[in-house]
């Protein structure tokens, strides 16, 4: 199987630690992220605390997703039939290339050269905007944060708020530089910035013939799609154009409308920390005389069936893209999202990207976590992210082992396992370590030393070996 494409093209991946190196030194980025994540964390804790049955809701969300994923084929066919019955067209895309080609052809068939877009992770995932541009079609992002990223020729750094790494004065600078017809006196007041974006976008909404969206949920029983959003731009894109094309990952299906009840409670509280999102748009096929008269649903695999096949990683597909895990992650808070080199950053990205692409294509991501478990605690569908991280780490190791790629780490791990396999060997190793420690130690600590431990000792002291290990003491006294 070919590598599933996950956006952010043209950027050579040198791995998470190298990307983090740059991000950690960016003081503005660090401050923006610290402020933004701290604010949303506090708000989320508050609104989640309002629901006495939050844990039951989480369990319901997990169970619905697990049940759906174990019967995915049946629900997808049910969805397809329902959409077709209501006048929509359904297309199946195996990977990013196929999906981009399909969408491009559908847009070309309408004769349009401009499309408006609802914020959609999956179209970022397949790199749709670039694919359309190559065919001479301009795609306009209409979500404010996506617009900021697009105008700034930047990359997304968050699932929900892709411009979280920019503060308001940086956003004003981007608007002044890139937004046609913007007032030279534009200030950095959020209301003023939003009004500038609104004026810029209004023209696009009224002129575009084609709208492109993703979907948060696809209800199998009726063929209904749902988009939840905050700005109203989604509602405009979904209702004003003549043609609507929705690209949806196959894991987005839920069996019934009853299931929506659970997720529409879980999602806003986990993502924007709101009790209810401002706009929930639902549409079913085509309604004559009302809204888009042509509707295409593109169902995308792009590595999802590969994830489904794996018993441990499977739960990753339950993700509803709320980004609560990003906001609580101490690693994400410091490195930002671009260090993950994928449209899916943070803890969920650290498992979703390697699971979809294969660990050989993102071998550093499963290690981009201290396994602190904060992500698992907040996940509204109870994805055990630390469990999947550890599982993917073993896949990285097994992949190298199968290809006989020697690493100093593997040698060290093997040696340690051999030592731990026998108390006698452990004691001999402890004695040897004491001799080594004696060379470097001063006043009970080891300072900066070269060699494989330099990563530790560059910034932290290490403890010196004590004169007597515990087992030596125990044997002497018992």
């Amino acid at each position: 199987m070919t590598r599933a494409f996950l956006g952010l093209p043209g950027r050579r991946d040198k791995g998470f630690p190298a990307a983090a190196h740059h991000a950690l030194a960016d003081t503005q980025l660090r401050r923006n992220l610290r402020n933004a994540t701290a604010t949303i964390r506090a708000k989320r804790t508050k609104v989640v605390g309002e629901l006495p049955d939050w844990e039951e809701l989480r369990e319901a969300g997990r169970a619905i997703k697990a049940q759906t994923l174990s019967n995915l084929d049946a629900y997808l066919e049910q969805l397809e039939n329902a959409v077709v019955e209501r006048g929509g067209h359904v297309h199946w895309a195996r990977d990013a290339d196929e999906a981009c080609r399909l969408v491009t052809e559908l847009v070309q068939a309408t004769g349009a050269t401009e499309v408006v877009k609802v914020k959609s992770m999956v179209t970022d995932e397949i790199g749709l905007n670039d694919a359309l541009a190559r065919s001479g079609i301009s795609a306009y992002e209409t979500d404010l944060a996506e617009l900021i990223v697009q105008l700034g020729h930047d990359k997304q750094s968050h699932i929900l708020v892709p411009a979280i790494h920019k503060n308001r004065s940086e956003i004003r600078d981007i608007f002044l530089r890139e937004m046609p017809g913007v007032s030279k006196d534009l200030g950095d007041d959020p209301v003023e910035l939003a009004m500038a974006a609104r004026q810029h976008l209004r023209k696009k909404f009224l002129s575009a013939k084609v709208g492109i969206s993703g979907a948060n949920f696809a209800v199998a029983e009726t063929g209904t799609l749902a988009v939840v959003e905050s700005e109203g731009n989604g509602r405009m894109c979904l209702t004003l154009p003549e043609t609507l094309i929705s690209v949806v990952g196959i894991e987005k299906v839920v069996p019934t409308w009853n299931d929506l009840e659970v997720f529409l409670q879980l999602l806003p509280r986990s993502s924007t920390a709101e009790r209810m999102n401002p706009y929930t748009s639902l549409w079913t096929g085509v309604t004559p005389g009302d809204g888009p008269q042509e509707f295409h649903l593109v169902l995308l695999d792009n590595g999802r069936t590969k994830v489904l096949k794996d018993e441990v990683s499977r739960q990753t597909l339950a993700c509803i893209r709320c980004s609560a895990c990003l906001n609580v992650c101490p690693v994400y808070e410091r490195t930002g999202g671009q260090a993950y080199n994928s449209v899916y950053p943070g803890p969920i990205g650290a498992i979703l990207t390697p699971a979809m692409q294969g660990v050989e294509n993102a071998p550093t991501l499963p290690y981009a976590s201290s396994l602190c478990g904060a992500c698992y605690d907040v996940c509204p569908v109870k994805i055990n992210i630390p469990e999947v991280l550890v599982h993917l780490r073993s896949e990285v190791v097994e992949h190298k082992r199968a290809r006989r790629i020697p690493t100093p780490e593997a040698t060290a791990m093997k040696a340690m396992a051999w030592v731990f396999d026998s108390p006698k060997r452990l004691e001999r190793a402890q004695k040897a370590a004491r001799r080594g420690s004696g060379i470097f130690a001063r006043d009970g600590v080891i300072g900066r030393i070269p060699g494989p431990m330099h990563g530790w000792t560059d910034s932290r002291d290490a403890p010196a070996m004590p004169a007597e290990t515990f087992r030596e003491w125990w044997r002497r006294t018992h």
Partner: protein, 299 residues
């Protein structure tokens, strides 16, 4: 030897109720051999501990404590013996396999799972002064045994994992003590380690124990539940991100004005303490067990 020892006969290692500390000589309903010193009697008259449950406890010290922090091990032994329990350190123990498992080397941990299950099967309870090693044993050992293809081992691993406790769990949940009779006249802040908090969910048990320590000036740590950035091999593989996390933890520790940062895991304390020491902050890390074991005599 200035220690109080209660040793039940090895053959009778069920959980028993023993009214220790209450009478001048050993309570004789149970076959118990009591060795007491004058110092013990004096301490007992000061600290009334009432009814305690006697269990034969296997100490799983963990490889890092055995190798680098013998004082933590000695503290656990001193503490539990002071409370009237027998503690044994089986010398055949080595490591739970956490470093291997969490770095992706699951196969290398199979024999360690077997060793752990074999070595600790005979005890009523196993205690480890480490939330994350206990977490690994309880969360992963059965799955690892299954992966190794040995169902019988998986059953044994499950039985041993079920009676493996982190120190604060053993004290509060199993032995039912909160006031362990400790004295520690220092300003202390407590960092709840991630695995004790979110993997094995010790909750506020360590804090309950610390609050009952006489002489302690316990100050709350801001953003306490945020990871210090250790994460095992994460600290090496992502040394810079790990250090960025550590710098915030160190700042929070310093904000408390404490002289001691306590935690239930010496691996996290190696990290926090390593930062505190490198920056010459004058603050150091001390394991929870060492605080709980401290008394007027050791102060």
């Amino acid at each position: 030897m200035n220690r109080f020892k209660v040793r039940p006969y090895r053959s009778q290692c069920h959980i028993r109720t023993l009214y220790a500390y209450q009478c001048d000589i050993g309570f004789s309903v149970l076959p118990v051999r009591v060795v007491r010193t004058a110092g013990d009697r004096e301490r007992m008259s000061r600290t009334h501990i009432g009814e305690v449950t006697l269990v034969r406890i296997g100490l799983f010290l963990t490889c890092i404590n055995d190798t680098l922090y013998p004082d933590t091990g000695k503290a656990v032994v001193r503490l539990l013996e002071r409370l009237g329990h027998e503690v044994d350190f089986p010398l055949e123990q080595t490591c739970c396999g956490q470093m291997h498992v969490n770095t992706g080397y699951r196969r290398e941990a199979f024999s360690l799972v077997r060793r752990y299950a074999d070595v600790f099967a005979p005890y009523d309870a196993v205690v480890a002064p480490s939330g994350s090693c206990v977490g690994l044993v309880r969360d992963q050992h059965v799955a690892l045994a299954r992966e190794s293809g040995d169902e019988a081992l998986a059953e044994r691993a499950a039985a041993v994992a079920a009676k493996t406790y982190e120190l604060s769990e053993l004290l509060v949940d199993v032995l039912g003590v909160v006031d362990v009779g400790a004295y520690y006249p220092h300003r202390v802040t407590y960092h709840p380690t991630c695995h004790s908090l979110r993997l094995i969910r010790v909750g506020d048990k360590p804090l309950q124990l610390l609050r009952a320590v006489r002489g302690i000036d316990l100050v709350e740590l801001p953003n306490a539940d945020t990871c210090c950035g250790f994460g095992g091999t994460f600290a090496l593989k992502n040394a810079e991100t790990s250090t960025a996390m550590l710098s915030d933890k160190v700042r929070c520790v310093l904000d408390t004005g404490a002289e001691i940062c306590a935690a239930g895991d010496n691996s996290c304390l190696t990290h926090i303490g390593g930062g505190l020491s490198r920056m010459r902050t004058g603050v150091r890390g001390v394991h929870l067990a060492e605080i709980l074991a401290a008394t007027e005599e050791t102060a």
